[in-house]
């Protein structure tokens, strides 16, 4: 087992699988969030289901947290190893001549997304844990929409979210299709995978940004 984790290919596969899992989660997260601009009641129903369903809470949520931790820890471990592999740097290195910026700077986009996840967890997850387990409030299936809209009232939070979604788009542009190459898929379907990656990497973060802007511009009037 220790031999396996020392293998560069196994480490790549761990990055790819955890990344693909997070991509799947992102699609699911977006599907629920977009209902908040279409029908607040549906958003409340789904949010309540996610917040109280035992399968989601005690199985899927820990798997998701583990997936995030594995992806980021492995990402930083690989970055340190890759820096060591070129002890003496070039005086002149023209990286843009042979590889796009997004593929060469996954650590930058990844670090910004990690910081964003910290803020996002503080905004929603910590609040949710306190509401349920510390304050011991009873179930209220109608509260989610108002709580979400309220979060986007301050312009600073909305701007931070939008910037993070832009970096998420850049991260996905390389990471999504790259996962397939790592898993050994490079064949006649690769052009289709790359096209789908581009569409996903643009549409999903743009959609998240739209939701944030929509709620900022449409606050709940008390």
């Amino acid at each position: 087992m220790s031999g396996l984790i020392k293998s560069s290919i196994v480490r790549k596969v761990v990055m790819a699988l955890s990344g693909l899992f997070l991509v799947f989660f992102l699609a699911q997260h977006f599907t629920i969030n977009i209902t908040s601009v279409i029908d607040p009641e549906t958003f409340n129903t789904w949010s309540h289901f996610m917040g109280y369903n035992p399968l989601v809470q005690y199985l899927l949520q820990p798997i998701l947290i583990a997936g995030v931790i594995i992806h980021f820890v492995m990402g930083f471990v690989l970055e340190i190893q890759n820096n060591k592999a070129r002890g003496i740097k070039y005086m002149k290195y023209k990286g843009s001549a042979n590889a796009p910026w997004v593929s060469r700077n996954m650590i930058i986009s990844g670090a910004v997304i990690l910081a964003f996840i910290g803020l996002h967890m503080y905004d929603f997850w910590v609040h949710e844990m306190a509401y349920k387990y510390i304050e011991g409030n009873p179930e209220d299936p109608t509260r989610y929409y108002a709580e979400t809209v309220e979060k986007f009232e301050p312009i600073w939070r909305t701007v931070i979210y939008i910037i993070s979604f832009a970096l998420l788009a850049l991260h996905l542009l390389h990471g999504f299709s790259s996962s397939f190459q790592t898993m050994g898929v490079n064949n006649k379907y690769t052009p289709a995978i790359k096209t789908f990656t581009k569409a996903f990497a643009i549409v999903i973060p743009l959609g998240f940004a739209f939701i944030a802007i929509y709620h900022h511009l449409n606050p709940i009037t008390h």
């Binding site: 293998s7 070039y90 005086m91 990286g95 042979n98 996954m106």
Partner: protein, 248 residues
């Protein structure tokens, strides 16, 4: 044309090197890059200075010894060429050209622009071969029918000259393209499939032991490879490795 050359000078493997400026006049655009360095070396020798050491052998693009990073790119700005095939017409009069050795912890500099690429030999020795029965009744390889598309793909992988441009170009100094080409050239053919499991495991293990970085699929290696080795080889090696790992 007149050029300003900035060249890495390093006395030996343990010395600290530095960039040195060499103005060079009267360079012909039809010269190869190595011929341009020959002219510079003649001038240095005539002045009683130490010539610049660089590796070269065939000067026809197949030995893969010319381990130079030119203006930030392995083998310079042209595609699908080694340094001997790079001509001075690719540069303009008055250009500054930065010439460094390939940089990777697994490719230590021996002197000036010469790097030690024995790490590649050790990867090859770990499994890049087919063990044949040499007792006198060996089956002629040509007696085994192989589809043309498979034969062509295996041949394309086998055209890797082990120059190290993939490592030099990769931001992580990864040797995945080289190793995967050497794995692929055997994995695709029936003669190589007998030892496929141990081969890929042993070669990847040796590659990791040499201290090369991890592949992040930037594709820089494929772009800079003078022989056009494609990323499909890396995907194939990943499949081979995962399949070998599952088999145990």
């Amino acid at each position: 044309m007149n050029l300003n050359l900035k060249i890495w000078r390093q006395k030996d493997a343990t010395s600290k090197g530095q960039m040195v400026d060499y103005p060079l006049k009267g360079v012909e655009e039809d010269m190869s890059f190595l011929e341009m360095l020959d002219v510079l070396n003649e001038q240095l020798i005539n002045k009683g200075e130490e010539p610049i050491e660089f590796d070269h052998d065939c000067r026809e693009g197949i030995c893969g010894t010319c381990s130079m990073q030119i203006n930030g790119q392995p083998h310079g700005p042209d595609r699908l060429v080694t340094v001997c095939q790079l001509h001075m017409r690719s540069f303009a009069d008055g250009d500054t050209i930065v010439i460094e050795p390939f940089r990777a912890s697994a490719f230590p500099v021996i002197k000036d622009l010469i790097v030690d690429r024995v790490a590649f030999d050790r990867i090859q020795q770990a499994g890049g071969f087919v063990s044949v029965n040499t007792s006198g009744n060996t089956l002629d390889a040509n007696a085994i029918p192989i589809g043309k598309d498979i034969a062509d793909t295996a041949f394309n992988s086998a055209t890797c000259i082990g120059c190290g441009a993939c490592v030099a170009a990769c931001k992580n100094a990864s040797a995945m393209l080289f190793t995967s080409a050497k794995v692929s050239q055997f994995a695709l053919l029936p003669q190589g499939q007998v030892e496929a499991t141990e081969r890929v495991q042993n070669m990847v293990r040796q590659m990791d032991l040499e201290g090369f970085g991890n592949c992040t699929n930037t594709g820089a290696c494929e772009v800079e490879c003078p022989k056009g080795i494609s990323l499909e080889n890396i995907a194939r090696m990943n499949r081979e490795y995962l399949s070998a790992t599952v088999k145990g």
